[in-house]
Symmetry: C2
Subunit: 394 residues, 2 copies
């Protein structure tokens, strides 16, 4: 006697984790250097020195009862203020500490926000390609999950298809830019068109359709591209952010929800986020890491190594004849299966010990995702295999 | 447009937090030394030196990418093995690493377990007095929350009342021992009677009624009392544990779910716990703290300071004429309102700057909770006021 849906969700782990586990097995068999595993989004940039030093200084100087004790559920005031200051300095956001809710990374942030927005019959819209966990999170909150097909090959937002997907039950559209898995960044033009559409539809249906901006990759951009700050374009935006990628703290679970005061019903929405968080077991974000953020919220990632990998992979694959979405952010590259069948392509790659994630769970069955958080040396050694792989299609 | 129930849960914060906030305000006004705040269960024992040293040594020696990177959702294998080893050494539990699921403390552990056990129409039973957050957690999982009235003045389990509360829809009984708020420890005799009742009822209804053992205070006991290890008494037990109190890491969010292999459907139940955790945004427990637990799972709290406070408070209040449940565990003391009205008693105490939590939200409206994680000096100074307070009832 147990919940069948929960069982299935637990028993059928994610495709990414299964492929990663296969890669580990294979590495044990033939040596790690011979397995080209592009599955896991575990950042490979070292954690900034300043972060490490801050931990050490907090451990040395701060009263451990305060350092390791409960904070309020919404989070340490100094950490929230530091985040607000940083948003204000960068985006002129007009943010204040009481619009921020610290939590254990973006995933529980999304769970809290989805729960806060879900009324009976609610629909939450995702734009393919999308992070697969959105589905269980939205459904877990009690919403229906609606997918808008991808805008191939640019991976911006297909406004016509989105418009067709919106209904009076739509409460939110998830926007993930820089995008996992495509590595694309929505342009300001795209976002303005999105804002216009959502404003019209909100008026038509008589209630706001919020943007839920999932932004763990906000600062991970290339070629001088800046991620537009969505609340400045569309006020009814709730931001979910994590330091997992920007400060290479993925396992430490520290991030936040930002409910800007200009969003409709912002105070009530903030309370509903707190309430949902409470019902799913949130007490506070890890306290040591809250104190670290109070001192490190202004740090930015060094993109040098990721950029070097990105260029080598993009150029190598393009030269070999692959169709690739040019990544401008995050650390993913989305490559088209030569015959448009991502599952078969990933399988064929696997037989050559190249491990890719087929895009099917991301809502895009013609592409595979590569995470280039690997060593440059290994990435270079993978290129001849990729050439062999595409040759096999000719 | 937001979820009304989530809003209410967020807007109406917990009574404990409100009283604590009042205490902080009052301290700002009249000086902290003049406010006798017994509200918050923030442990006051220092974090063990060994824990602090382990953090420092991990920070100095371990590759930060590994130290701060994602672990698997179920948790670091070495940490799970260390916990299993510790359970086996202490309780001959027969535990193995794959029965353990690390998470961000007991609260999300409970959310995951309640979600795993909740089928349509499910009822989850709490034994008053109980930790108030059980209600939003159970209801958030979709279960009905059923309360069994307290067994006054012993605060063991009233078997008749419990039997009357069990139905074919009961999926679990929450057992919290040492108890928050009463500080009592269920005796082995109590637990054997409970096991017998649940076995009978499970047979009668044709499905197991699980015990969900919420055990953040397991090691915090006095007078040589040991907390019986419930899976050894009743196999259909799922344990939720946290290092918040035993290692004074309340804010760091590290704990686990243990689904013993002897529990019915244990593998499916473990998968359902993972699945629920996934749907509420669990990625992994904070990775640094997982690595700490891998090396520190065997540590035990030093109870000296808590015990000194406990004795002084128990003796002081009893001598003044209060009826007190003798605490044998945790760091709470449950005191009866002289006229049986806890709300009025707490209000009268508040006017004398003694801040207590009325038991109403705990399912016991005649008692107030005191947390004695305060300085011994302050505790001593509070006793004359408590005498004045009871005098005011005469």
């Amino acid at each position: 006697m147990y919940n069948q849906k929960a069982y299935e969700l637990g028993a059928n782990g994610s495709c990414i984790r299964e492929l990663y586990a296969y890669g580990r097995q294979r590495a044990a068999l033939i040596g790690d250097e011979n397995v080209f595993d592009f599955t896991q989004g575990n950042p490979s940039n070292p954690t900034p020195k300043k972060v490490e030093e801050t931990v050490q200084s907090l451990m040395a100087d701060m009263n451990p009862l305060e350092l390791h004790g409960y904070t309020s559920a919404v989070g340490d005031p100094a950490a929230r203020q530091a985040i607000a200051d940083d948003l204000n300095a960068r985006f002129d956001a007009g943010a204040s500490a009481d619009e921020l809710f610290l939590c254990c990374g973006t995933t529980p942030a999304l769970a809290a926000v989805f729960g806060a927005l879900t009324v009976p019959g609610a629909q939450i819209v995702a734009l393919a390609p999308f992070f697969p966990e959105y589905r269980p999170l939205a459904e877990g909150a009690g919403a229906s999950f609606v997918v808008v097909p991808p805008d191939i090959p640019d991976f911006q937002i297909p406004m016509g298809a989105l418009e067709a997907a919106l209904t009076e039950h739509t409460v939110a559209v998830i926007v993930n830019s820089p995008n996992n898995p495509a590595g694309t960044v929505y342009t300001e033009k795209t976002l303005r068109a999105l804002a216009q559409l959502l404003e019209e539809k909100s008026r038509q249906y008589g209630h706001p359709i919020y943007i839920v901006a999932d932004e763990p990759y906000r600062e991970l951009t290339y070629d001088g591209v800046q991620t537009p700050f969505i609340p400045n374009i569309y006020p009814n935006t709730v931001v979910c952010y994590s330091y997992s990628k920007s400060l290479t703290l993925a396992g430490e679970r520290i991030g936040y929800v930002y409910v800007p005061k200009q969003a409709q019903d912002s105070k009530a929405l903030y309370a509903a986020v707190s309430g949902t968080a409470r019902a799913i077991g949130h007490i506070c974000a890890p306290s040591l890491w809250q104190k670290v953020i109070a001192r490190c919220a202004h740090l930015r990632p060094d993109m040098t190594a990721y950029d070097k990998n990105r260029r080598a992979l993009y150029e190598g694959l393009t030269a070999a004849g692959y169709e690739v979405a040019k990544p401008q952010g995050a650390f993913y590259l989305f490559v088209k299966a030569p015959d448009g069948d991502a599952m078969a392509f990933a399988e064929r790659a696997k037989n050559m010990d190249i491990i890719l994630v087929p895009g099917n769970d991301f809502g895009c069955s013609a592409y595979c995702r590569l995470c280039y958080c690997v060593s440059y040396e290994k990435l270079q050694r993978s290129l001849p295999r990729f050439r062999e792989l595409i040759e096999s299609y000719r």
